[in-house]
Structures are given as structure tokens and as C-alpha cells.
């Protein structure tokens, strides 16, 4: 916690430099068919109250029965966070009053969570990396949803989400900037998606963050923190931290003190504001849920889940660096999504790993981003992209023509090899044909030829003319060699 302070991460106030300290509670919706304690569906977007059992609606006499898959998903996530798995954990009631919580309590885990301490390795854009401690992960129920904009005097309550399983993942206050916080959430999301334990869809509320922010002057004890509730996008997490840190710094530099409180980030106004109504609710009066026995399983259960885990992003990245000779940065880009990594591996198989990475990252990802498409929706398949790379490797097309070919495959589809034949895109490697074109250009431009002897950079102009004359199909290496010889440039 008192690691050396990196001056670059400090925030400049009016009087001093300040260090921002951030810890996060991430609520991740467990991927499952049915809810945590009932047999109602978790599917998003149903008609109001259609995915509600009598347990979720808190009808008298209903008893919760735990969903075995949700337990397995929490354990898998714990393993993915290299965390302690607790073979015995306890469900507690967290009591508070709100219309979208029909029981009047949320079933959660307080003193004895299912997963204990772990860690997440987070790579930063500048190539450095940080380790973020995980304090705990526990299972709990989600609440229902209230709509406030349907009627001037009424709120509308839909319990479809009520009782859906959430994993609350609590980090240590190990983050020192909004950039680190964003990178941490991004990495956590990647891990969850690899594990298949949460779809990470922030737009649908599958991943939400409560962000704890405090500031201090470097070397001083931790300051009083404020908790910013329910931030639902990675970009907003960054903005909320910056905004809140500056608010606290302004108060402290004016000689004031920070009140520990719950706040809400308003992205349209770019400010955080106090949620006074939540203050009293902090008296949650936790106690063990008498409807539920302690959750117990053996190490063999944990081991069997560990065996079934997929290769995780850190391991995959290390393997891409070692096996395909990629830079850590490129490997990091490719493993950010499991589907991207799978696509890349399909392209790289039996080919040059670096060339495959360049094509996937620069051409394909670039084009997908531009069109707002996911890798799953790519019009160019891994097999098609692989064929394009093969054609370059075989000297059939130049890199430049390959980009045109990529464009054709993207918009029209088809087999790259057939396209090259049918559209006459083959590179001219026949020296005789290239020489003819070169000779014609030299003959037509005696002044430039004379200049080129003094100014060898003019070679570029001749290359350009030759490529133009051959419709871009001349082998660039052959053109260069020929021109140098004929112009007497070395």
C-alpha cells in the first residue's frame, strides 16, 4: 500500500500534488439459465414480471433453493482470479427497504464468502503492469428494476432481474489513477468472458462498478473515501474517478474535510452528487439466513472445475509471445477477446505468426472497428485471410495488391486464390515485362534520369511510375533492382 509513488500519476491541485486511491466493487452477473435461488429465467429483455417465480416475488412460505451452476461459476471465477476457494461459506440477509426488493432483504454473503483473496495482473498502455489484490468474491441476489419516467406520481417495478445471481468482486485499494482503474475493469471483464462466468455486457447491466475514491498527499495515511455507486461503463468509471478526486482535492485545499458518503456520478453534468437517501440504509443488520444451510463442497469439486478451465488471457499472451514471436503489446491486443485470439490462431496456424498478427490487428481489426463490427461478424473468415497471406508469401501478389484483395473479399466474398486469377491481380515477376516498362519510362524522361544521378531519392518517382505503368502488379523488389541498375544508383 505504501509502494513508491509515481510522480506521473499524481494529480496537480492548486497547492499540492495529490495521489488518488481507488478500490472497486464489481457486480458481475453470473452466466446461468436460472436464478440463484429460484427456477425463473435470467434471460434479458422479457415482458415485465414474466421471469419471476413466487420465490422472487417474496410470496409467504416460499423457500430459496440454490442453483448448483451458480456455485460452480463462482468457484471458476475464483480460480481465474488465482484466489483462495472457501470450501465452506455462509449466506446472510442484508436488510434494507426498497420497492424493487420484495423480501426486504438481499441474500448475500458477509463474513464467510465463497472466494477469498486473489489477484489480477493488469497491463498498462505504456507497457508496465500492476498487480491488483482481490479481497473477496461473494455470491448475492440482484434486485428488481424500477422505472421512474412512466408516470408523474408512480414508479413501475419489474422483478425480472430480482434474484439473478451476482458475483461481487471486491478489490483492494491498489489502484492509483483512473487509467489503472479502467485497465483493471477491462482485464477483469476479459477474464470473466474467457471463463464464461459473466458475459461482461455493460450495456445490459451485466457488469457494474461501485468505485471507492479517496485522495492523499504522497506518503500520508489514507484519506476519507467516498463511494460512487453503480457506474455502468468503463469510460464513465474513468470520468467519475477524475471528477470525484478533483472535488475532494478542492475541498481539502480549502481547509475542509471529506464526509464519508455514497455518491452518484452524473455523466451528462460531469459531476458526482451525494445520495443522502442511502446513508441510513447502511445499517444492514446482517444475520445468517435461516432458510439456507452453509454452502459446503470438497476439494475434489474445486479440482474438477479447475481441470475444465480454458486457457486464460495471461497464459495465452505468454504463449503467443513464445510460440509466434509476437511483441507483448500485439499479443495483449489479440488475447483481449477470446474470439479474437481464436481467429488469430486459425490464421497463424502453419504461417508466419508476425505476418498473421499484422494482418489481423492492422487490417482486420482496423476495418472491424471502422464498421463497428465484432470479430464474430467479420465478413472475412480466418481461412480467407490466411489464403491472402499465403498469396503474399508465395510472391503471387504484392503487399499492396493484397490490401486491394482484402477489400474485395471483405465486400464481395469469395476465394482469394480464385479472385487473384479471375481479376488478373497476379504480381508481374517476369523481369522481361518489368524491364520493358522501365525502359519506356527512362526513355520518356531523360531529364529526370540525369537528375537521378545527383539525387538518388528520385528513385522513388521512377518506382511510382513503373508501378503505375504495370497497374500496381509489378513485384516491387524486382522494380527496385532493375531501376537501380539502369539509373546507376547505389
Amino acid at each position: 500500500m505504501n509502494a513508491p509513488v509515481d510522480p506521473k500519476k499524481l494529480i496537480k491541485g492548486g497547492l499540492h500534488d495529490w495521489e488518488v486511491i481507488v478500490g472497486m466493487e464489481i457486480h458481475a452477473q453470473v452466466s446461468s439459465q436460472a436464478k440463484l435461488f429460484s427456477g425463473a429465467s435470467t434471460e434479458f429483455g422479457a415482458e415485465p414480471n414474466d421471469h419471476v417465480s413466487l420465490v422472487d416475488a417474496a410470496m409467504p412460505g416460499m423457500l430459496p433453493v440454490i442453483n448448483a451452476e451458480c456455485i460452480a461459476q463462482a468457484v471458476r471465477t475464483g480460480l481465474g482470479l488465482k484466489a483462495q476457494i472457501n470450501l465452506r461459506s455462509v449466506f446472510d440477509r442484508k436488510n434494507y427497504f426498497y420497492p424493487d426488493l420484495p423480501q426486504g432483504y438481499q441474500i448475500s454473503q458477509y463474513k464467510d464468502p465463497i472466494v477469498g483473496e486473489g489477484e489480477v495482473l493488469v497491463d498498462m498502455a505504456d507497457g508496465s503492469s500492476i498487480t491488483v489484490g482481490i479481497e473477496r468474491l461473494h455470491l448475492e441476489q440482484d434486485a428488481g428494476k424500477s422505472l421512474h419516467d412512466q408516470d408523474p406520481t408512480r414508479s413501475f417495478v419489474d422483478l425480472n432481474r430480482s434474484g439473478v445471481a451476482l458475483m461481487e468482486i471486491v478489490s483492494r485499494p491498489d489502484l492509483r489513477s483512473s487509467e489503472e482503474a479502467k485497465a483493471y475493469v477491462t482485464k477483469l471483464r476479459t477474464i470473466l468472458r474467457y471463463l464464461g462466468t459473466c458475459d461482461g455486457d455493460m450495456e445490459k447491466g451485466s457488469l457494474r462498478a461501485d468505485v471507492n475514491v479517496s485522495v492523499r498527499r504522497p506518503g500520508e495515511p489514507l484519506g476519507t473515501r467516498c463511494e460512487i455507486k453503480n457506474v455502468n461503463s468503463i469510460r464513465f468509471i474513468g470520468q467519475a474517478i477524475e471528477t470525484e478526486a478533483r472535488r475532494q482535492i478542492a475541498i481539502l485545499e480549502d481547509g475542509g474535510t471529506i464526509d464519508q458518503e455514497t455518491r452518484l456520478f452524473d455523466p451528462t453534468k460531469g459531476e458526482t452528487r451525494s445520495m443522502r437517501s442511502k446513508e441510513e440504509a447502511h445499517d444492514y443488520r446482517y444475520f445468517p439466513d435461516p432458510d439456507l444451510l452453509p454452502l459446503e463442497f470438497d476439494q475434489a469439486f474445486v479440482d474438477s472445475l479447475a481441470e475444465g478451465l480454458p486457457e486464460l488471457p495471461d497464459a495465452k499472451k505468454a504463449r503467443f509471445v513464445a510460440d509466434y514471436g509476437l511483441s507483448p503489446y500485439d499479443a495483449g491486443v489479440l488475447v483481449a477477446e477470446r474470439a479474437s485470439a481464436d481467429y488469430y490462431e486459425a490464421v497463424a496456424k502453419g504461417r508466419d505468426g508476425k505476418a498473421a498478427a499484422n494482418w489481423v490487428i492492422n487490417e482486420l481489426f482496423g476495418r472491424l472497428n471502422k464498421e463497428g463490427l465484432s470479430i464474430e461478424a467479420s465478413p472475412v473468415s480466418a481461412a480467407q485471410l490466411g489464403a491472402i497471406i499465403d498469396l503474399i508469401g508465395e510472391g503471387v501478389i504484392s503487399g499492396k495488391i493484397a490490401k486491394d484483395l482484402f477489400e474485395i473479399v471483405w465486400t464481395e466474398g469469395g476465394d482469394p486464390r480464385t479472385l487473384v486469377e479471375s481479376r488478373g491481380m497476379k504480381q508481374v515477376t517476369d523481369t522481361g515485362a518489368i524491364e520493358k516498362a522501365v525502359d519506356a519510362i527512362i526513355a520518356a524522361n531523360p531529364d529526370k534520369v540525369a537528375q537521378a544521378k545527383e539525387k538518388p531519392t528520385l528513385l522513388g518517382w521512377f518506382v511510382g511510375q513503373t508501378m503505375k505503368a504495370t497497374g500496381g502488379k509489378a513485384n516491387p523488389a524486382a522494380v527496385n533492382t532493375l531501376l537501380k541498375a539502369k539509373l546507376g544508383i547505389e
Binding site: A40, N49, C70, T153
Partner: protein
């Protein structure tokens, strides 16, 4: 352990139970009587004994991850004082 008047009002508010001024005094007495009764348990030495969570030694029952319920929105909201399109309607609650 005992509760004062302020605590009685606070507990009532947290539970959203309306308590009149006249009721606070008697409730305080009743609660303190219950607490005193429970406090007798403190006389038992339980050091080194794990808290009992169930009277029968059994593992928690679990369910398969299969959708078995739902599709009865009209039943779910049937007892609600006010509904619209199978939503529960409640007095406006806004942050």
C-alpha cells in the same frame, strides 16, 4: 443490553413500521424484556464450540440450472394494490 427510545424509533423506521409516540414506550419495554430473556443464554460457556447452523446434520439441497418457473406475471402482481401492464406500481421513489 437494552434499547432506548431513539433505537426503537430507528428500528421501526428501518422496517417501515409506523409507530406512534404512544406506542414507543410500551414497545421499548417489550423489546428490553425479550433482550433480557435472550441475555440469559450468555451465562452458558460456549468457548471453543462451533455455532450450530442446523439441528439436522445435512448438506444444503441444490437445484439444477434449469428454467422451471415464470410466465405467470398476472399471478405475480395479482395481490398488488396497483398495477399496469403487469408492473407493480408504487409511490414514486427517485434519487
Amino acid at each position: 443490553m437494552s434499547v432506548d427510545e431513539k433505537t426503537v424509533r430507528r428500528i421501526a423506521h428501518l422496517a417501515r413500521i409506523a409507530v406512534t409516540d404512544d406506542e414507543v414506550g410500551p414497545l421499548q419495554g417489550e423489546l428490553n424484556a425479550i433482550l433480557a430473556f435472550v441475555e440469559q443464554l450468555g451465562a452458558v460457556d460456549v468457548s471453543g464450540i462451533e455455532p450450530m447452523t442446523s439441528v439436522t446434520p445435512m448438506a444444503m439441497k441444490k437445484r439444477e440450472d434449469i428454467v422451471t418457473e415464470g410466465g405467470r406475471a398476472a399471478d405475480v402482481v395479482a395481490n398488488a394494490p396497483e398495477t399496469e401492464d403487469n408492473y407493480f406500481l408504487v409511490p414514486k421513489v427517485v434519487e
